[in-house]
Amino acid sequence: MARTELDTFIALSKVLTGEKKLDKNLADEYLQRLKAQNPTQMQKILAEFGAIADDPFLVFEVKRRIAATTEAGKEDLPAMAQQIIRLWYTSEFFPLGPDGKPVANASSGTQKQYYSGLLWTVIQAHAPTNSKQKYGYWTKRP
């Protein structure tokens, strides 16, 4: 069955973030945000990933062909990969400018997206204002 663009984006995001489970609705929101800011680079990175998506050594291929590539004509792929990571981890990212480098001002997300940032679960905490725990939980290690 042919992969949809969203499926491709989710599969790429799992490799880039190291997170095995990504919410599909959130992925769609993020895909639309990224495409709105950098449609050309997103098309390119999804196409590049689509070509290697079935490789049994996917992390290696993603590193060589996308995240750390030095191939001519693909200079913007690592920067785009980094913004995809930052978006999933923090709900904000820095769109790429005409020079292929991230611009100075971030694009921020919704409150729900901010709370969903992967960074907070990686450090075993929560986004500020989103505790949902009881008094004193902080006296023990997570």
């Binding site: 409150q111 990686v122 450090i123 075993q124 500020p128 902080w138």
Partner: protein
Amino acid sequence: MADEYDVVVIGAGVAGALIAWKLADARCNVLLLDAGEKRLEKNDRAAFVKLYAEATNRNKTPSEPYVDADNSKFAHSPDNPDFALADPANKLYYRQTGPNIFKSQYQRLVGGSTWSFRGNSPRYIPSDFKLKTLHGVGADWPISYDDLEPWYCDAEDALGVAGDHREWNGIFGAYRSRKFPLPKIAQAYGDMKLKSKIDGLRIDGVKVRMFALPQARNSRKYDGRPACEGNSNCVPLCPIQAKYDATVHVKKAIKAGAKLIDRAVVTDLKLDGSNNIGEVVYKTWPDGQINSAKGRIVVLAAHGIEAPKILLNSNAGNGIANSSQQVGRNLMDHPGGEGAAMMPFQVFPFRGPQSTSCIESFRDHKFRSEFCAFRLTIGNDGWGRSEHPFDTLKKLTDRKLFGEELRKELHHIVTRQLRVAYSTEQLPDPNNRVTLADEADEFGIRKPKIAYKVDDYTRKGMEYIQKIIKTIFTKVGTREDEWEFSDLKTGFYSGSGHIMGTTRMGSEPQTSVVDAECRSHDHQNLFIAGSGVFPTSSCTNPTITLAALALRAAESVQKQLSS
């Protein structure tokens, strides 16, 4: 014709709210004015939380949750963009002339700066009130710790301060006649790991001890507000109001019969024939309508920049309450900074309040005639201003890390990040002052012009402080090549949001603005409340001290009304 009241209180921050509440409760007819909006409902707080969550990390500043277009125009709350020297094209609110930049903000919103304060509530110590006598620098207060002690107890009850009586009773002679109303805020896991490594360490003959930080934050349900849930967002906003903010006492004042008018910027205090404040003139926004009110007594509680601004603007710009020429002078802050290190053990920041522990061991010391006293706060927010976790992430992605390797490295680094923040004492300097700029705001009111310098008394202290922190970090076993410290070679310091000194208290009318009861020396029916009345700064968060002074002043106002 102006409405008439027993008391007109200008400013609904913690000082004004407490005074309005006390006097309304005593059946005085009270009008409470505030330049900012009234946002007192739960859905207001939720809206602030949403706005803040949706701001970019760079824009997550203390004023950010409260940003509103009209408020920015008519009752601007200074924030990071204002921390710059003014230039001709610059439209900033603060018109700063230097030589150093004043870096403290405040909130012009009903409830004032307690919306965004951390909630730290240690008392001043007896020597803070006698700096000139004991150390030959600064000034003495016209009151002592003993005079204020009962009011400290009342203020702690009013705000709901959580603390450890055993730790804090008698520290540097600051005895406590009453226990804290709430048990201490539970100390963070990481803090206790650090404490186990350093408690009792001797540096320059001083025994370093880590205490639980007294804070206006609920360790259990109190005064109808919930216990802290560790949302890690104390500055700039507690989403559940476990942290005290002055809307608590604004509501109590209203319930007791006080009238609140918000969006009311006071433009003039007119004198009557008896040299008293005859009329309080204010403009409401956004309509710009001019109104006035009369009070038998007027309490000016507009914080350390707006209060002198109002006084200097009054009387057709000639000023009032200023025979001492001290209005606006002696501006002080607690210039701060931090040292950050990677702990050799995990501390798991961003879980719980932004700080739960402190080191008070240097609140008074043998070098205080040469350099400042200081206190240290253990951060529970990673590397704080030195490096936010979003910046740590960027560093790792810049190295092209991704996937599982990125996760591991991010976890390894951030769960070990800890900072020790310092807060320094600043001496009163008459050249550090608030005057009126030529530029006016949208209401045609002249903006505050600020001249400010951080002198060697404080800067020399910062050098010493960083040595202390480095000694602590070394004892703990951190790596020097992983340290980050505020860069003193570039003269770096941060502002604390503690604005003091600009309407100082004193016994002598020639050298002070208000007397020991916060009554203006020049105008019998004018009281001034807030940290602007502090003659010296100590190194300690001013809120509980200004709250104690406010309650004491409320009693003086009440006595004066009755006499």
